[in-house]
Assembly symmetry: C2
Homo-oligomer: 339 residues x 2
């Protein structure tokens, strides 16, 4: 990307896929270049006094704002809680920055706030500071919520997307694509049979149990925008490793798989909001799966792949019939305003 006068921001730049990645690596990173940002994890890992801190931010513009399984409020709390937790940190404090459109219903705002409160209670974090701006009617579609958050990394865990190693086994904590498909079916008023709802949830308590039991976990990431495809490609790039995923090992609900097939969408590239991907040494796999299966948010946790070499940065998918295809970083945005 050059910064020519004629270039415009496109929806793809917010997709979490390759256009987002380009925007970040060509504009944001060179501008603010520093070692924290260069780490490219879900949160920055900082040192303040003797404490290791994780600091993260995320903005939520999901449409519709209320959907089966959640709303923009709990999504905003859980999203930042999860970004912090993925560094092995215990999330403690959140900020909330709201932009609200003039004319927005105070009843809806109250419903969103109640949902944020409940999510914060479940995650055991406190909202300690905030800001609210109002935009004139038609200058913003409804409401946008930014959350930023601070967590403490209590042990000497070194969990980062650049620590994947040959031999690491890859675990996903449950079924994929639930959140993205829920939003899509809501938006288009598709009448889908069966239970389809967002998986929005805070993963910090699960992570806490997981890293206590398996302190040698190398990577944790939550596959939100761009789905597991984006996250696996980012990890492959940052760690310089070759990843192999068993296609039929990846858990997906039949009704979600059916939707994806119907709509021509790749579930691997669809957003999740309550799942994590973990890279674990072979020796800890059994223990990690056991901890996850005992937790209500990870009962479908499955071993889905392996880091097979460190000769190139690439992700392959092995199909049930023995084929092998490249899993490219998603290019465009299949679903704008998914979170």
């Amino acid at each position: 990307m050059t910064s020519s006068n004629t270039q415009k921001i496109q929806l793809d730049h917010g997709s979490g896929g390759s256009a987002s990645h380009q925007l970040i690596t060509n504009l944001f990173l060179p501008t603010f270049d520093n070692p924290y940002l260069r780490q490219m994890d879900d949160s920055a890992q900082l040192t303040i006094g003797d404490n290791r801190i994780a600091f993260s931010t995320d903005t939520f513009v999901v449409s519709p704002i209320f959907f089966p399984g959640g709303d923009i409020g709990d999504l905003a709390i859980n999203g930042t809680v999860n970004d912090i937790a993925m560094s092995g940190a215990k999330p403690l404090y959140l900020s909330v920055g709201m932009i609200i459109e003039e004319g927005f219903s105070i009843h809806s705002l109250n419903r969103i706030l109640k949902s944020m409160k409940k999510a914060a209670q479940i995650a055991d974090v406190q909202v300690v500071t905030g800001d609210t701006k109002v935009m004139p009617s038609k200058k913003l579609d409804g409401i946008a919520i930014n959350t930023a958050g601070i967590g403490v990394i209590e042990s000497d865990y070194q969990i980062s997307a650049n620590r994947a190693q040959v031999g690491d086994r890859i675990i996903v904590s449950g079924t994929i694509a639930d959140h993205g498909i829920t939003i899509l079916t809501q938006r288009d008023n598709l009448m889908i049979e069966g239970d389809i709802q967002s998986d929005t949830a805070s993963l910090n308590h699960l992570v806490s149990k997981l890293i206590s039991a398996c302190p040698d976990i190398h990577v944790l990431r939550d596959p939100t925008r761009g789905g597991i495809t984006a996250v696996l490609n980012e990890i492959a790039n940052q760690s310089g490793v070759e990843i192999e995923i068993q296609e039929d090992a990846v858990p997906i609900k039949p009704q979600i798989a059916a939707c994806c097939e119907l709509l021509g969408l790749d579930p691997f590239s669809i957003a999740n909001e309550g799942k994590l991907i973990s890279f674990v040494p072979e020796s800890s796999v059994k223990q990690a799966l056991s901890v996850m299966h005992q937790h209500k948010l990870a009962q479908k946790a499955s071993l889905i792949g392996t880091v097979v070499s460190d000769t190139k940065s690439v992700v392959y998918v092995k199909t049930p019939i023995g084929g092998k295809r490249l899993l490219h970083m998603p290019v465009g945005d299949q679903l704008p305003r998914i979170c």
Copy 2:
């Protein structure tokens, strides 16, 4: 405010005045109630390990995004740096959460990023984590930027809006209303003679010098939305004190005063983005003014008033001809999207 189904968010709810205050005290505070939030300062003061931390957030939706003296980029950096500095903290790390409208010029984005970089360098803070969302065309007017930030309170300063005491002298660090009037004249294409530009600036280095020289400062606040009127009323309420301001002691540029008169605006209620109000014991006034006058951002620092009693929470203005009027919290929003 009740949460009836029919009530709507109005522009006033984002004004920084009494409607904003109502929204916060009736909806946000009861929802997320905790001691940090109840403090109602510009930043939350937290303890992590042995460290005292200040944590703050602010969202910027200013229109136009480029204006004399600055743009939405440096405004977003300086705004959060200042909110952190007002607790006596040294700002260290910022997050940046952007929402950009599809079709937004990448050239303009680059210009904004460069401006953020420069502001961060001047304030000596690092942008360590970020997030970018793209909204479809016409769902957002241009760009909105959230910044959150962390600072460290290095000494045992106790600076808070609830610490104003009888006898405290009130200092403003320079001329008022520059930012708000600049935005207004830009927006309405008013052709005003003379140098009118935003005062956007990071105040952390000034604060650092000030609190080193006068560690007994009781209150620091930056009078942004709602101007010095809103800030003085907040301090009067939080500290339970009566404040008296000398109207003709408040510094204002003649061209800004002329604009306000022409447009029927009260400069006391107009936003500033590079000024602070400080409540200082009488014994430290001389020293505080001396430090400020030596700093390029506070050469017009002036003594403007006194805390006269703790019998009621109220702000009076004494006029040059000996009159005395109540300075009420601003009710409506004179200028939406001012920051």
